[in-house]
């Protein structure tokens, strides 16, 4: 059963380049939306989520260099230290590249907790760099964003999958 799942995922069509770029821009946009203080804590890192998705399904297209570049953009719009998001994202994509085959085996809902852990890890890297800069620990609610990111994962991956799910015809290949 897992076997069939596994091979089915492998046939997935390559996403179009413009769609990947668009999704990354939309992720950035969602990260930039001006929202008020209380919701700000809950806002997941959409760019990380989109990168995670492409890292899982299209590792040939979105690798560490794209992640690094997106991290630099995030650093600028977020006015954080240059390289902070870049570091976190490239490490994130590295881990996804290692784990992606394992993630493929699970359904979307079962993937979510694993994605949550990865997001938590990304946030920890960012927290660590900030702590090295002698910032104070912002409190545990800081990690809530990973939790909401985890809840949004199935939705986001469904949306992103639409573009390149195969028109099912097993004989086409």
């Amino acid at each position: 059963m897992t076997r069939t799942n596994y091979s089915k995922e492998e046939i997935i069509l390559p996403a179009k380049g413009w769609f990947i770029i668009l999704s990354l821009i939309v992720g950035l946009l969602l990260n930039l939306l001006p929202i008020n203080e209380s919701l700000l804590i809950l806002r997941p890192d959409f760019v990380a989520l989109v990168l995670l998705f492409w890292g899982t399904y299209q590792p040939q297209r979105v690798g560490m260099s794209v992640a690094f570049f997106m991290g630099l953009l995030m650093d600028v719009v977020n006015s954080s230290m240059f390289g902070q998001h870049a570091l976190a994202y490239s490490v994130l994509i590295f881990i996804v590249l290692l784990l992606r085959r394992r993630i493929h085996v699970f359904g979307l809902l079962k993937q979510a907790p694993q994605i949550g852990l990865l997001l938590l890890f990304t946030q920890s890297i960012m927290l660590l760099t900030e702590l090295l800069k002698r910032a104070d620990f912002p409190g545990w609610h800081y990690f809530l964003a990973s939790f909401t990111g985890m809840l949004l994962w199935p939705l986001i991956s469904l949306l992103l999958k639409i573009s390149h799910s195969p028109k099912y015809d097993p004989n086409a290949l």
Binding site: P34, M64, M81, S90
Partner: protein
């Protein structure tokens, strides 16, 4: 479980790439915190991302428009209220302009340097960064509108922060409760001067190195003292919210809460060093011009 052969693999292995990117980002972080070399890069990226940033701001613009449309029926009410407010304010302003002239005069008599005047730029808050470490806000006015580094941001209640980075069409301001940030202040009640430092916590400042027996009470208002020349004097900053006098330590532990806040308003004012609210100094202008012409005549 190595079932899929990696056919098209080329280039360095992912571990090598990871090591490269980690090193690169560490170098970037060090360079960014200790040197100013990356400012142009930051500026270029901001300009490139300007459309995205404006697009993200679109919902707010639309909701503002919608609000304007739907509250049209309240306009008459609001107008009446504002008229009343205007009347009260202009009464106060008349007094104020008289005071400005009087102050000018007294300062001249005392041969003190005139107070700093500045002009203002109205700006809107574009976005607030995602993570709690960056106590900054992005404003929609930049170099093109005459915004410069070091200018002070206020709202209708008091000081919010200071411009720390400028881009062509936007700028970045650091809030006064940032950890690396301090404001020279003065207690309004007795004129005692101190420096309020940010704590990195929401709306919280602290006064360091104030002796245990210092004359300060909870509820005291802190205003900028004008020392240092960055802040014009007399702008409200914070209220003293908690004082702990511990006999075993030399200094009192004083916590203040900021009066203004970036979370309250969408609009802020950027003060540049030549601050002079135009409407209220017309008479003062005339007065000063008269004075100057008199002086010129005398010469």
């Amino acid at each position: 479980m190595e079932t899929t052969p990696q056919f098209f693999r080329h280039g360095p292995s992912s571990l090598v790439r990871l090591a490269f990117f980690i090193q690169l980002s560490l170098v970037l972080m060090v360079v960014d915190t200790h040197f100013k070399y990356l400012y142009e890069v930051r500026q270029a990226i901001t300009v490139a991302l300007y459309p995205v940033q404006s697009f993200a701001y679109l919902p707010i613009t639309i909701s503002n428009l919608a609000d304007d449309f739907f509250i049209a029926q309240n306009l008459a009410d609001e107008n009446a209220r504002f008229k009343q407010r205007h009347l009260i304010d202009s009464g106060k302003l008349q007094q104020f302009s008289a005071l400005v002239i009087e102050n000018e005069h007294l300062r001249k008599l005392l041969e003190a340097t005139p107070r700093n005047k500045s002009k203002t730029i109205m700006a809107e808050i574009r976005s607030v960064p995602r993570d709690p470490f960056n106590l900054t806000i992005i404003l929609d006015k930049g170099l093109q509108n005459g915004v410069q580094n070091g200018q002070v941001i206020v709202d209708n209640l008091g000081v919010i922060g200071q411009i720390t980075r400028t881009y062509p069409w936007s700028s970045e301001a650091t809030l006064i409760n940032d950890k690396d940030y301090s404001v020279p202040v003065q207690i309004l009640r007795n004129g005692l001067r101190s420096v309020a430092s940010g704590t990195g916590k929401y709306k919280t400042l602290e006064l360091n190195y104030m002796a245990n027996n210092v004359d300060i009470q909870e509820g005291d208002q802190l205003v900028t003292s004008g020392i240092g020349g960055v802040y014009p004097s007399g702008l409200p900053v914070a209220l003293v919210s908690k004082i702990k006098r511990d006999v075993s330590s030399t200094f009192a532990y004083i916590i203040c809460t900021t009066i203004a806040g970036a979370d309250r308003n969408k609009q802020v004012l950027i003060l540049s060093p030549q601050f002079r609210p135009e409407s209220l100094t017309d008479s003062a202008d005339i007065y000063l011009e008269d004075k100057e012409s008199e002086k010129n005549d005398a010469h």
